[in-house]
Amino acid sequence: MDMLINPTVVELSRLQFALTALYHFLFVPLTLGLTFILATMESVYVITGKPIYKEMTQFWGKLFGINFALGVATGLTMEFEFGTNWSMYSHFVGDIFGTPLAIEGLMAFFMESTFVGIMFFGWDRISAKAHLVVTYLVALGSNLSALWILIANGFMQDPRGGTFDPNTMRLEFSSFVQLIFNEDAQAKFVHTSVAGFVTGSMFVMGISAFYLLTNKRKDIALRSFRIAAVFGVISTIGVVTLGDALGFIDAKAQPMKVAAMEAIWNTDYHTMSAPWNLVAFPDKAAGKNLFEIGIPYVLTPLLTHSEDTVIPGIHQLVDDAKPKVVNGIKAMIALKAYNLDHSDTQALATFKQYQDDMGYGFLAMQYAPNQDLKQVNASNLSSVVDKTAKETVPNVWVEFWAFRIMVAFGFIMLAIFAFAAYYSLKDEIEKHPLLLKLAMWSIPLPWFACEFGWITAENGRQPWTVYNMLPTFVSASSHSVGYMIFSLIGFVLLYSSFIAAEMYLMFKYARLGPQTSHHGHDAAPAGGGGMVGQPAFAKPSLDKK
């Protein structure tokens, strides 16, 4: 037997993955949304021939570029990290999980990255129509990219399309159709890419509001504001609708996640009156909410879109898991025996009998003496089973609040977009400086909502990397703590300096604003460099031609 799994290394690997994924996800939503806003502006330019829309496209395109670079850079980390830190995971699911990632590269990322160069550099080299096509290809590429990534993620949430093969000790790809038409993946793709549109809209609207407040390039600001506000209303409604659909899907596929999201501890059989917790203070150790305020009659219809479906509570789900743990232990012992001796057909038959619960056997390993399931016997079985069943509960407090913050921010944004669109379409937006200020200060909201959405989805998936099949505990690479500290420190240093530079440049170029250009000023300093401190309006064109 090889050395034991070190829980500290698993925790550090989780921490590193979570930090790098959350960080990557700071840049993705804006890329997803802003590309389509750019494409819309450029479409107006091509259709109407008004140069101001070209100027708008180029100005917002510059901010897009600053964001895009970090999205690409930090995406590299994600592509590496499964291999560098989740070796057992990669070996176990690579045959089905790696495929959508590879297809993402082939179909989407290549397109996005190749054409983005032409989008920035090709203005003078191809016709306006051809350039518009290029911009659309970038937008399509980035959103297709999200589709394949979320198909991969959907497999982690609700594994469909893969079959475990005891001869290769891994999940093997068995149905392409099941993989790509996974309900969770489909709903989450739309939810996520539309959340990107919300982010792009808030970004453009907030910065345009700043220009309106400071009287900068009103021609561009008013037009941008209107496009963004309308885009924002539509996409926020889309996000909420798909979020509701996701809850409905998860209630079936991941009941534990949903129970934690809503902090439901006990199954309520009087389903008509089950309250929906508006606020609560869930305590996992005590197994109850220390404090809660709920709205009766809301929960069941909200989650299940019906009035009589029973929603299982956390305690019942833990009890339901116990027999699965017992079976899982049997499955894993048999699987090991079969792997040490492939002629042991008895072991294979036993494994097949309990195969459905093998994930729970994997999960029990951390509570078995010396992490060896063979050492589980009559005297310690019930304690191992109890601990393992409890392990299936994610961090309820985090799940409950991450979900609520996301939802609350979603509705706040919907209200802001609605007012903004209304007044902007009535051409009265400038009469409402308070709304403009609110729009400006709301720029961070979609980012918070997106990050908390990620936490809701992935914290709620714990303790599994592949739901009900592979626990996080056995998924990590067997590194030393020293290795993990080295890479963590490196990431923190590198990523902190990136975000500092990113914010500096974003603020600089956003404050600088679109230049008073269309009458052909000249000789702006290189890349706008060295302009800090000069009055923004004194700056001549950055857009040649």
Binding site: D2, I66, A69, L70, A73, L76, E79, F80, F82, G83, T84, N85, W86, S87, M88, S90, H91, G94, D95, I96, G98, T99, A102, I103, G105, L106, M111, S113, T114, F115, G117, F121, G122, I126, D165, N167, T168, M169, E172, F173, N339, L340, V474, S477, S478, H479, Y483, F486, G490, F498, A501, L505, D522, A523, A524, P525, A526, G527, G530, K544
Partner: protein, 377 residues
């Protein structure tokens, strides 16, 4: 031949194609980064050098990302094991790779010379280090890597990362990769740059071609003398499970067995050497287009040489020889490889078509960007 075996061999070839595409295209950009401080003596010249690859580096970099994704999908166990075994080295590679896109986007956005100077150093590091590690990884794989598996497929490693960077064959292979990337990058600078950048690039690139040829020949002698691995038994059609099912032996000179059995394979290393030397010659004669293609062929020759020596090994284990990763025991499943093939057949030609279009759109010499040109890097 069994269909599954055919798929495994096909994906071995495609793995090679990916590694070659990556080496040629990403290597070229890395070479430009490495040479940046040497061919550009002032800010204008450096911006010009960067803009030679400005519109394309992002697309080229996807070869690298696609490489990761395709290895993950088609060779899951190889991906899982190699990335983890070389952990610290991989993390260093990753850090230098993620610095590069940022350097491109940020460098020219602030005029302060300290800012730009710092990013120019980043270009140097993120040009040399990834190529060195790319080469060193090949060298390490040739000498066998310290890992083994437990029954459930979890890998364990036994060697430290310092050794992976500092053993002679790793250093030699690393330097070989760096010089080939300098060659390719220099050639691109000649192609699309103007003097004085182009003429400086010519000097560096032609020397790099000759250095590469020398390093490659020395490497060949080292490898012919060292321990190579031989598959004694193992069914090519086996289910992909690295834990058991193979018998492997390590013998001195083992990497030369395939050449002994099929002397025609000698053409591959000869091709590599010929392309490097001819390439250097053509660059001296101001023929960068021909030089570029010879450089690409040289990469094909070098990686082809490694592949021909190692077939059917992907990553031999010095710890537990029988658990060495081979084409037969580390691949994806049959069903998966079929789907991967379908997508590759559709999309790789598509990618090549639009990449070519983009290069055509942006063809021609890159002038020094005017200080005001904000569409340039």
């Amino acid at each position: 031949m069994d269909f599954y075996i055919g798929l495994k061999v096909l994906w071995w070839v495609l793995l090679g194609v990916l590694l070659m595409g990556l080496a040629i295209m990403v290597g070229m950009d890395m070479g430009v980064g490495t040479l940046l401080r040497f061919v550009g003596r002032n800010d204008g010249e450096r911006r010009q050098a960067l803009n030679v690859i400005g519109p394309h580096w992002d697309g080229n970099q996807v070869w690298f990302i696609l490489g990761g994704g395709a290895i993950f999908a088609a060779w899951p166990t190889l991906y899982a094991t190699s990335f983890s075994v070389f952990y610290i080295v991989m993390i260093l590679l990753l850090f230098s790779m993620i610095l590069r896109p940022v350097a491109f986007e940020y460098r020219s956005k602030v005029a302060a010379s300290k800012w730009r100077e710092s990013w120019d150093w980043v270009f140097l590091v993120s040009g040399v280090l990834p190529m060195f590690i790319y080469g060193a990884a090949m060298g390490n794989i040739l000498s066998g890597v310290g890992f083994h598996f437990s029954w459930d497929g979890q890998y364990y490693q036994t060697e430290s990362f310092i050794w992976y960077l500092l053993n002679p064959i790793a250093i030699l292979s690393g330097l070989l990769a760096v010089s080939m990337s300098v060659y390719q990058g220099g050639t691109m600078l000649m192609l699309r740059g103007t003097d004085p950048i182009a003429s400086r690039a010519k000097n560096y690139a032609s020397v790099a071609g000759i250095v590469a040829a020398i390093l490659f020949i020395i490497g060949g002698f080292m490898i012919s003398g060292m321990k190579g691995y031989t598959l004694i038994s193992g069914d090519p059609g086996m289910s992909a499970n690295p834990v058991s099912g193979q018998v492997v032996e390590a013998v001195s000179g083992g990497w030369m067995h395939n050449y002994g059995a099929h002397p025609i394979l000698w053409l591959i290393p000869i091709l590599a050497i010929a392309c490097m030397l001819l390439g250097a010659l053509f660059l001296r004669a101001n023929k960068p287009i021909l030089g570029w293609w010879l450089g690409a062929l040289a990469w094909i020759g070098v990686l082809g040489t490694v592949a021909a020596s190692m077939f059917p090994f992907l990553m031999p284990s010095s710890d537990n020889l029988n658990q060495s990763l081979t084409i037969w025991n580390a691949s994806g499943s049959r069903y998966n490889l079929i789907w991967m093939t379908i997508f590759t057949v559709i999309f790789v030609p598509t990618i090549l078509a639009y990449t070519t279009w983009c290069f055509r759109v942006m063809r021609g010499k890159v002038a020094k960007p005017s200080a005001a040109d904000d569409h340039a890097y």
